[in-house]
Structures are given as structure tokens and as C-alpha cells.
């Protein structure tokens, strides 16, 4: 048994880069085809982009290639020979490596330790002097360096991503699969990392298959592109011959998207007023540092920043999930402490990130989740205490129809709905009555195009009706599209502010990185 497995692997890792071809890949989960007869061909010495919405099958495809999933059908050709890849170890032996969207480094260890520990086989006792010498010699051949003796927890996100890539190169991988490699980087860091990889590809040392949803990166760095939609190949071609519009159409298909209303109306008086707000994170460190910000009626203020710079804690304070250490929040001139009566009186609404975790009770029904804001007032509560279940159901029926929430029935547990439909339900609950203050935190994260378009249209609509909107997003494109005014948050403080019309992408990026 052992011999057979070993014979199936090449004796040594390849020393040259190579292409890869997936033919008729199909992966079914029960009745559902996550991947349906998809073929892609990655030529050696190129960067190939894999575009698609969430749930289009991009991750499934690369997981089938890497051996995490056993495909229902299809073949993988590595270089010139067909290979059976039963598990990631087989893929590694063939010289295939993968860099994940989220870091797989141990934060408490140094870069050296992380790089060495990634090897498949480790000696019982380490000769660290020798390891370090070998690593230095390796780094001399690389286009970028990382601080070998620093702890991973002490280096920036950009450096961590470089470590992840160096780790793959150190392990002699000649074909890299990158899963949204720039999602945690500033635009400058993304350009730097991708630029260096581009250099190695052009030099013929590497071939890359990159999952992304950023057209900018596809246009700037990729040679060819394959586009997936609902598990099928929806388009492919050379990047030079394609326009962003054509790629977007292939990604979305003929689906009807909600049209965002045009920006309308003038700004009113300051409605949401944050004064010197300071808050700690769970570890007791200062996460929000003396933030002062006013949002006017009819205005969307977008807070940009690399995630982890205090945006989450800021939203949690405003949402009532976290106590502040200092400072004050006022709405329409009145002190606001996130109490239920204040929220009702001030028409305060919230679209949080991860709505299932932050705004819903997974094991309660859609109908119940839809009335969280008003179950204690008429007509839902008779005499102030008795629940009128009939009213719950009527309300749910109305909202499910109006917001197009796809659910089997109003009694279905909300935890069984897809992410987009959970967010639609929260949208229905939070935005269907008049809104005067809206906090939206990464409201579109992980959702499909149709849901994203609908949510952005609703936010714009709320703004046009005079709501003060605070939009916190790690997606810079979302902020650029929606915001009237952009501020950048770094290390808990607001470090940059500009009207959206005059926003300078370079300046925003520099401030996101803390320069």
C-alpha cells in the first residue's frame, strides 16, 4: 500500500514551473452541484485569475485540485501528465501550493519558526543556526524579504501575506493557488505583493492561479481569466481582450439587479454626534482611541480601514454591544446610550457584519426575528405583555414578499437561510420603518451580487430620505461607491478625512497603512 502511494508521486519536487489543467471538474454535494463540468487551463509562467461571485464554485474548484475534496468527476493534468490527487500532501509533492485568504501562521512564533515548521518532515531536534543560515540563503534569492526574527504578531498584514507566499516558495512549490490574497491588504501592499509575484512569473519561476473578485487586480496583473457562475464556467479569455463590463456580465449573468437610486437631497444638521469616544477590545487594549465624528442628516460617512483597526469595537459601542471607556454619543442633540427606548425614539437602525451572529437568533423563526424591534408594542403586544402571534405572521408575510426573502415559510428557523437572505431579513427589520440614523458595518460581506445590489440600494435610499448613515467597511470600493465623505481609521483613531468627490486613493491607502 505504502509503495503504491509513493510510486504515484514524483521522486523529487519539480525544479521548474509547470502548467495545470482541470478537465470537466464536477463536484456534487447531495443533489447540489457546486461545480458542474468546469474546465480551465493555466499555461506555465502565467497568472491566471479565477473570477466569480460568492458561491460560484471558485473555492470548490481549487479545493478539488488541491485534494481537499474528492471531485465527483473530472481530471487534473499537472504539467504534462494526468495525476490523481487524493489529499493535499499529494498536491504538495507535485509542487502545488496554496495560500489561503486567512493567515495560517502562528502569531506567537517568529517568522523563522513558522517557515521551518511548515515543512512536511521535521527533525527531532532543530539546529536553529543551520536553519537560519539556510533561510537567509533562500531569502537572498527572493525578490522580497521578511524580518526573520520578528514574531508574526508584531509584523503587518502585508508582511504576513509575504510570509505566507515565502513559505510556499521555501517549500519548493512551483505552482501557487492564491485565495483572495489581497483581501486583508491595503491597495499599496496588494500592488507590492502582486507586483513581486508578477516578476517571478515573468522570470519563469512560478505559475499562479489566483481567486479574486477585484477587477483592478485582474486587469493589472493577470494574463488570463476564467469566470465561474453558479458552478459553471461562464467565460474565459485573455485579460487584454476583455473589458471589466464584459467580465462583470459573465459573473452576474442575466440576473436582474436592484438599481441604486441616484444621490439626492442636501445635507441637514449633524444628527449622529460622536465625541471623544474611547473603547477597549476584548483583551483590554485600547481599540477605539478618542474618536470624534459627526454625521449629518442625508449624508453617508464611510469609515475605511484595514480590518482590525478598531472599526468593529466602534460599531459595537454604537450598537450597544460594548461599553465605552470615555466620550459620548448623541443623536439629534440628545445623549444616546443604546437603550431600547432611545433606539425607538431616535429611529436608530443597524446593519451589522455577520448578521446571524450579531442581529439574529438562529434557532428562532424568520417571523420572530423580523419583529425583534417592535414585538413589545402594539399591535404585536396586546395590553403591553401578551404576544399576538397572528400579527407576527402577518408582518412576516408582508416583509418576506416586499424584500424578496427566500424562505420556505415564516416559521423556518432563520439559521437555515442563506447569508444573503438572513441579511435581507435584517434589512427588512431595520429599514422598513423610517430611519434617522443607520449604522452599517460590512453589510455586504460574503453576499452575492443580487443581495449586495439590493442592500446598497436600500442604504442609498435611506440616505436620500434624510437618514444619517455611518458606513464601516473593509471594502474600499463599497465606500467609494456609497459614501459622501470618507474617513480612514488606523489603530483606533481617525487619521484622514475627505469628501468622496475629492478622495485620493493613494492618500487613503497611505493612511490605511498608517503613513
Amino acid at each position: 500500500m505504502v509503495e503504491v502511494t509513493q510510486l504515484a508521486r514524483p521522486p523529487v519536487a519539480p525544479d521548474k514551473t509547470f502548467g495545470l489543467e482541470a478537465i470537466s471538474m464536477t463536484k456534487r454535494f447531495g443533489d447540489f452541484a457546486a461545480l458542474d463540468d468546469v474546465s480551465i487551463r493555466v499555461a506555465p509562467g502565467t497568472i491566471h485569475a479565477l473570477l466569480g461571485e460568492n458561491g460560484a464554485g471558485k473555492s470548490t474548484l481549487v479545493k478539488c485540485i488541491m485534494g481537499y475534496y474528492a471531485p465527483t468527476g473530472g481530471q487534473v493534468i499537472v504539467g504534462t501528465a494526468e495525476r490523481t490527487i487524493d489529499n493535499p500532501r499529494d498536491a504538495h509533492a507535485l509542487g502545488l501550493g496554496m495560500v489561503y485568504q486567512h493567515f495560517t501562521l502562528v502569531p506567537a512564533m517568529t517568522v523563522t519558526e513558522n517557515l521551518v515548521l511548515a515543512r512536511d518532515t521535521l527533525p527531532p531536534v532543530f539546529d536553529w543556526a543551520k536553519e537560519r543560515a539556510a533561510l537567509n540563503e533562500f531569502l537572498d534569492r527572493m525578490p522580497f524579504r521578511v524580518p526573520l526574527d520578528a514574531k508574526v504578531s508584531a509584523i503587518s498584514a502585508g508582511e504576513r501575506q509575504k510570509c505566507e507566499i515565502l513559505k510556499q516558495l521555501y517549500l519548493q512549490r512551483k505552482f501557487l493557488i492564491l485565495d483572495e490574497p489581497t483581501s486583508v491588504l491595503t491597495p499599496q501592499e496588494a500592488d507590492e505583493v502582486l507586483g513581486m509575484l508578477r516578476g517571478m512569473v515573468v522570470a519563469g519561476e512560478l505559475t499562479i492561479l489566483m481567486i479574486t473578485h477585484k477587477f483592478r487586480e485582474v486587469l493589472a496583473f493577470a494574463d488570463e481569466v476564467s469566470i465561474l457562475r453558479r458552478g459553471r464556467l461562464a467565460g474565459k479569455g485573455r485579460v487584454k481582450e476583455l473589458t471589466p463590463d464584459a467580465m462583470a456580465r459573465a459573473m452576474i449573468g442575466a440576473e436582474e439587479l436592484a438599481q441604486a437610486p441616484a444621490r439626492a437631497g442636501a445635507f441637514g444638521a449633524a444628527r449622529l454626534d460622536i465625541q471623544g469616544l474611547t473603547a477597549l477590545d476584548d483583551a483590554g487594549q485600547v481599540a477605539v482611541n478618542n474618536v470624534t465624528l459627526a454625521v449629518r442628516a442625508g449624508e453617508i460617512v464611510g469609515i475605511a480601514g484595514v480590518s482590525g483597526n478598531g472599526q468593529r469595537q466602534l460599531v459595537e459601542v454604537l450598537a450597544g454591544q460594548r461599553d465605552s471607556e470615555a466620550g459620548a454619543v448623541a443623536i439629534a442633540g440628545q445623549a444616546y446610550r443604546a437603550r431600547r427606548e432611545e433606539m425607538r425614539l431616535r429611529k436608530f437602525s443597524l446593519l451589522p457584519e455577520e448578521p446571524l451572529r450579531n442581529a439574529c437568533v438562529a434557532r428562532m423563526s424568520v417571523a420572530e426575528n423580523l419583529v425583534f424591534r417592535k414585538f413589545d408594542e402594539a399591535p404585536f403586544a396586546g395590553a403591553g405583555f401578551w404576544l399576538n402571534r397572528g400579527q407576527f405572521r402577518d408582518e412576516a408575510t408582508r416583509k418576506i414578499a416586499r424584500y424578496g426573502i427566500k424562505t420556505r415559510s415564516a416559521d423556518t428557523k432563520i439559521g437555515e437561510l442563506s447569508g444573503g437572505n438572513v441579511q435581507r431579513a435584517v434589512l427588512a427589520r431595520e429599514l422598513s420603518e423610517g430611519v434617522e440614523v443607520l449604522i452599517a458595518a460590512d453589510p455586504c460581506f460574503g453576499l452575492d451580487f443580487a443581495a449586495v445590489a439590493q442592500i446598497r440600494a436600500e442604504i442609498m435610499d435611506a440616505r436620500n430620505k434624510g437618514a444619517a448613515v455611518l458606513l464601516v467597511s473593509s471594502d474600499l470600493d463599497e465606500i467609494l461607491e456609497l459614501a459622501d465623505r470618507i474617513v480612514v481609521m488606523f489603530h483606533g483613531a481617525l487619521v484622514y478625512e475627505a469628501p468622496a468627490a475629492q478622495a485620493d486613493l493613494t492618500a487613503i491607502g497611505r493612511h490605511m497603512a498608517g503613513h
Binding site: 450598537a319 450597544g320 454591544q321 443604546a338 437603550r339 431600547r340 427606548e341 432611545e342 433606539m343 425607538r344 443597524l350 451589522p352 451572529r357 450579531n358 442581529a359 439574529c360 437568533v361 438562529a362 434557532r363 428562532m364 423563526s365 420572530e368 425583534f372 424591534r373 414585538f375 413589545d376 403586544a381 403591553g384 405583555f385 401578551w386 404576544l387 427566500k406 424562505t407 420556505r408 415559510s409 416559521d411 423556518t412 428557523k413 437555515e416 437561510l417 442563506s418 437572505n421
Partner: protein, 363 residues
């Protein structure tokens, strides 16, 4: 053929969401109890006892005769009430195991109230005892709730430790300040007086406590599932972050729910004194509080389901004597069975969502 198609449709699609989840919470605990009974059958088999004979005897001892029904229901009464002490805070996601302590404090304070009012009309005495018992139990558990909300102390640990403290206070008082000098072998308080006992339900031979239990469970059920308060609590219990986002007063909910749970266990203590013991002594800490935890978990924390489950557990307790007499098993054998049931029920928690028949298809 038609039948086959229909039954498949019922298994897969046509079951309504609510019906499917109700069926799941009934079927899985039943499976767990059956598994526990099989395991216990094996256990007694080791001692050379025929399991079939054992369960026949247990059934006779619990539900076989009028007398055994009386015994069972008498035991079920405090179990329903102490179960609510776990089931009510459980709506908020708390695991309170302080029923024993609340029962003891309730019984002790009820006795004190009864003794203080000795000579007043029985109705007044009984009412005062009930109020004192409920208040004592309520504040006892609310204290644990306050520790949790204001100081972040785990409520399971604090209520466990409060049990020991309550029992120690009981022993301290019945052997000291409240001791009736005439009680020699078993230190006890003075009697609350025969005229102040709450007596039996006519024709049933079971004391009124069972009615208290059933009414309390009904009220608790209505409170949890049909009122604004219960709905708020279920939101907070289901997802604290969501409760905060919609501005619910989480601290108030925790304290109130803990107080109500404690009230219920405190009432159980009052009933034990005023319907069974007549005076407070070490018998008060007979383990009803602990068995109540088992009842609540077996009932999936549903107040209404606590009633039948308490009767079942009461019956198992009632059959202990018969097992001892007929099969020569130690009286504590039924505690082994209770323990096995508890483990089986806790372990069965991992089965939820695993049976396809109960799952409605995701959209």
C-alpha cells in the same frame, strides 16, 4: 405504492417546520431514556437480576397501584418546582443548578415565618410561609444572577457552591438557634403545627403541592412563550449580541428570570415543610433540587414538559423501595439509573440536527 410515496413525502418534505422540530425534541430524549434503561438493565444483570423482572417491578412501584401513584405524585411535586429553577434561567442560556440550595433556603425561611406566626389563622400562616419561601429562594438564585451579570461569575459554579452554603446554614440553624430541644436523634426545628399543614387533595391522597407544581409550570410556560418578557428572554438566551443590538435590558432579564426560578424552588421547600415534614431538618436537603436539574434537561428546558418528566422521575424514585424489598437491590440503585439517564440525555444533545427526517431542506 401510493402509501410508499406518501410516507416518503411525509418523511422528507411535507412535515411542517414546527412539527418537525417538535417531533425532534420529543423523540431524541425518549431514545436517550430508552438507551439509559438498556444500560441500567445490563448493570443490574451483573448482580444477577433479570432486567425484565426489574422493570416490571419498577413499573408496579411507580405506577402500578393507587398507592404507588400517590407516592410518585408526592415526589413529583417538588421536582416540577425545582426543575423550573433550572428551566427558567435556561431560557437566557444560563445553566443554574442551585435548585437544592433555593429549596433549602425556601423551606428554612418558610419554617421561620410559620413559627413566627404560630397562633395566627392557618390561611395567614400558610400564605406567609409561601411568600417567605418564594422570596428566600428567589433572592438566593437572583444573587447568583447578579454575580453573573455584574461580576462575570459563572452561574453554574456559583449556584453549585450556594447549594453547599444553604445546606450549611440549614444545619447550623437546626442544630443551634432554631433547634427544638425535644428533637434528640435528629436535630429539628419546632413543628409548625398540625393545623398549619396544607393537607391532601380530597380523594387523591396526594398533597396540594402537586397542584402548585402544575400551576407554576403552566404559568412559566405562558410567561416564556406568550409574553413580551419571555420573548425578550428567549432573544437574549438565543444570542446575547442580538439582544444588545435591539436594546433589550439584559441585566434586568437575568435578575428577574433567576428570581422567578428561585421562587419556584423556594416554593418547593415550603411545600416540603408544610405538606410533608412539618419541621425543618436535614431531610429538607433530600436531593429534589438535584433531580430537578435532570428533569429540566430531560424536558429540554420546556416548563410544560417538566410536568410529565417530573412524574416519570418521581416514579423512578418511588420504585426504589420496592426494588429493595423484592429484588434485594440497594435503595441507591435508582440513583444509578437517574445518573445514567442524565448522562444519556446530555450526550443525546449531539444528536440534534443529525436525523434527516427532522430536517427541513435548507433554502
Amino acid at each position: 405504492m401510493t402509501f410508499a410515496v406518501t410516507s416518503k413525502a411525509i418523511g422528507g418534505r411535507l412535515i411542517g417546520d414546527r412539527f418537525a422540530s417538535t417531533a425532534e425534541v420529543v423523540v431524541i430524549p425518549v431514545i436517550a431514556v430508552i438507551a439509559a434503561l438498556i444500560a441500567f438493565g445490563g448493570f443490574v444483570g451483573l448482580f444477577g437480576v433479570n432486567p425484565v423482572e426489574l422493570y416490571t417491578d419498577m413499573y408496579m412501584g411507580a405506577f402500578g397501584t393507587f398507592f404507588s401513584w400517590q407516592n410518585t405524585l408526592t415526589r413529583a411535586a417538588p421536582l416540577i418546582l425545582t426543575a423550573l429553577c433550572t428551566a427558567l434561567p435556561a431560557q437566557l442560556g444560563m445553566v443554574v443548578i442551585g435548585g437544592e440550595g433555593a429549596l433549602v433556603m425556601g423551606g428554612l425561611c418558610a419554617t421561620a415565618a410559620g413559627l413566627a406566626l404560630l397562633g395566627a389563622p392557618p390561611v395567614v400562616v400558610q400564605l406567609a410561609m409561601a411568600v417567605a419561601g418564594m422570596a428566600a429562594g428567589g433572592f438566593w438564585i437572583a444573587f447568583a444572577g447578579a454575580l453573573r451579570h455584574y461580576r462575570g461569575v459563572n452561574e453554574t459554579i456559583s449556584t453549585l457552591l450556594l447549594n453547599y452554603i444553604a445546606i450549611a446554614i440549614l444545619n447550623h440553624l437546626v442544630e443551634g438557634a432554631m433547634r427544638d430541644p425535644a428533637s434528640l436523634n435528629k436535630p429539628s426545628t419546632h413543628s409548625i403545627g398540625d393545623q398549619n399543614m396544607i393537607g391532601l387533595i380530597p380523594g387523591l391522597g396526594v398533597h396540594w403541592g402537586i397542584l402548585f407544581g402544575v400551576v407554576a409550570a403552566l404559568i412559566a410556560y405562558i410567561l416564556v412563550f406568550h409574553t413580551v418578557f419571555g420573548f425578550s428572554a428567549r432573544i437574549a438566551g438565543g444570542n446575547l449580541r442580538a439582544a444588545r443590538v435591539v436594546g433589550l435590558p439584559v441585566g434586568k432579564l437575568i435578575l428577574t428570570m433567576c428570581f422567578l426560578g428561585g421562587c419556584s424552588a423556594g416554593l418547593a421547600g415550603m411545600v416540603e415543610i408544610a405538606a410533608v415534614q412539618e419541621r425543618a431538618n436535614a431531610n429538607l436537603a433530600a436531593g429534589y433540587g438535584y433531580t430537578g436539574i435532570l428533569v429540566a434537561f430531560l424536558a429540554r428546558q420546556n416548563p410544560l414538559a417538566c410536568i410529565p418528566v417530573a412524574i416519570l422521575l418521581g416514579g423512578i424514585g418511588a420504585s426504589g423501595g420496592l426494588l429493595q424489598r423484592r429484588l434485594d437491590l440497594p435503595d441507591a440503585s435508582v440513583l444509578v439509573l437517574q445518573g445514567i439517564i442524565f448522562i444519556a440525555v446530555l450526550a443525546s444533545d449531539t444528536l440534534y440536527g443529525r436525523f434527516k427526517i427532522f430536517q427541513s431542506k435548507a433554502v
